[in-house]
Symmetry: C2
Subunit: 343 residues, 2 copies
């Protein structure tokens, strides 16, 4: 049997059957996520208790972040992390919510009293949601109460929050598509758009991630539930061997949902933090000391390297070595990765 | 409490406790792998039965491979895949073996009668093993019975197999370290080294992966078991609060194990195939048709584009479009990714 001999109806039928199988795979993935979380939960608890006594644990973990994350941490962000980043937690807050998804998660950053912002906790939630043409993580802008003159995002997080409020109002008043069109005409939209345009993309603070909304567009819980329901209905029909209509023609016009985004790639950054850095935090922490062992014995860990420290703190545009800032001493033998955001 | 106030003994003790916790995380990961496999197994079976009736299913999946894999598939490899790649299977063959690892897996490629080699099945096994300083996947070279003048690897797989045989003989006669030193003096080693040197790194056939041994060095099951046993003993001591000796001083000299490798990165390529392409094969297969939808309706799928077909098959140095080769018609609107191996 070769593809050339087949008629389009057979191909369509096969596609539908494959979609059913694909859904079963997706169900298995979600179940694996639940089982993984159940196995990890007691370990995360144990780890949290243990690392509460390790100074700068999470700062050092983030210092060792893989390049995909590290590229987004500016020297001034690293300074904040070194001075007051105190605790960190990832939670899958919709794990057993039948309307939610085990793929949803939140990143909860805890901070000590500091000179930058009032907040002791900054929690960023990412919801896994779907539209007819897309699925992925969306989020709501999180307000950071910056102290005067200390806003590392130069007003981007504030402006994103304002637009977020506007969006909520519009959503309450109008239909999905209409609300999106109206949103782009609001003052809040224009202000945020202008701020994004004037900010240098290469130097947006890591704290800009708190303004992240979506790599596609904002998707409400209601819309996502509706789409999921329709998809399930369609799959049931296919399973029963009934015909399903092709809804290709009512695809969204990308022009309708072209949104502005403070922190493009925020969903990917968050996913790497949640899926790699969070479960592997001890490995990342220990890697700090592996680097140091290149130059010196572990017993010499506490020796301060005055030169490298002064050099790093003196010039805020240059590379900041968190280990130096938190008093872990000298630089590693290898040159650190450049803290430049990818184009 | 700050790090600066601590003494090195406290830091060492904390490191040991962290290592215990890290081991518990690793145990959880292995258990997740087992649970994931149990959930996937019936789906893989169902999928295998279903796709056996879909012409070129696996060829099309590999055509849609992510760049990390695609970069290793040369135009001549793509031609072989299009002509005779028939079935594919990943299995975790040490899943419940107390001496093995759920991280070990095999890639089993099935082929139809073809003009390139005699083999109907080429199976590549990757064992997850450890030394005192390293852990990862190792493999044994797999013999491909190339037909006359058809060896896409220009003798690399044959030479790797010869060295593999030599290694086995030496391992039977001598200690680990000694065998490695002797190996580098053998005729088989020199022949393979020379072949690797003269082959252009950028154009090694994907079939070179069957010659892959290790990203570090060959590690035997016995050595890995011994290291695992020693590690477990050490952890038990730490748990009982006993002192453990620091064995930093007997680290291996990297000069001792500098090995030659036909297919550097073979472990990473295999891992992406096993962890991403294998569970997500349906998504990759369907992506073939998403691309086509850019230009045409699904119902026009079978229309052959004579021009693009002739163009692709006429020049073996240029990009080969598997979809064209297997009769799936025209190129996508987007230019295909360049089939160049990364430096």
């Amino acid at each position: 049997m070769d593809h050339m001999d087949e008629n389009p109806e057979d191909i369509m039928a096969r596609f539908e059957e494959l979609s059913v199988l694909e859904t079963e795979f997706e169900e298995a993935e979600l179940e694996i996520l639940r089982k993984a979380e159940a196995l990890h939960a007691p370990l995360y608890k144990k780890r949290a208790e243990f690392v509460a006594n390790i100074p700068h644990f999470w700062t050092l973990v983030f210092e060792q972040a893989p390049p995909e994350i590290d590229n987004f941490i500016q020297p001034s962000d690293a300074k904040v992390f070194a001075e007051c980043f105190d605790s960190f937690e990832v939670s899958r807050f919709e794990l057993d919510d039948p309307k939610g998804s085990p793929r949803s998660f939140s990143l909860k950053f805890g901070f000590k009293e500091n000179e930058y912002f009032e907040d002791k906790v900054l929690e960023k939630k990412f919801w896994f949601r779907r539209t007819k043409d897309w699925q992925g993580l969306v989020s709501e802008p999180v307000k950071i109460h910056w102290k005067k003159g200390k806003d590392l995002t130069s007003g981007l997080t504030d402006a994103a929050c304002k637009l977020g409020e506007e969006r909520k109002k519009l959503a309450a008043d109008t239909s999905n598509g209409e609300a999106r069109k109206k949103e782009a005409t609001t003052k809040a939209y224009k202000e945020l758009a202008q701020k994004i345009e004037t900010s240098s993309d290469a130097s947006v603070s890591f704290f800009g991630i708190f303004a992240f909304v979506s790599g596609y567009r904002w998707v409400s819980a209601e819309e996502s539930e509706q789409v999921t329901k329709e998809d399930n209905d369609k799959l049931e029909k296919i399973k029963r061997g009934e015909e399903v209509e092709d809804d290709d023609e009512d695809e969204e016009d990308p022009q309708d949902y072209q949104e502005i985004e403070v922190f493009p790639g925020g969903d990917e950054v968050a996913t790497i933090i949640a899926e790699d850095m969070w479960p592997n935090a001890i490995k990342y922490y220990k890697a700090t000391f592996d680097e140091e062992e290149d130059d010196e014995e572990l017993s010499e860990l506490d020796v301060m390297d005055e030169d490298s420290d002064a050099e790093n703190q003196g010039d805020s545009d240059s590379e900041v070595d968190i280990r130096a800032l938190v008093g872990k001493g000298r630089n590693s033998a290898q040159p650190p990765a450049k803290k430049q955001r990818k184009a």
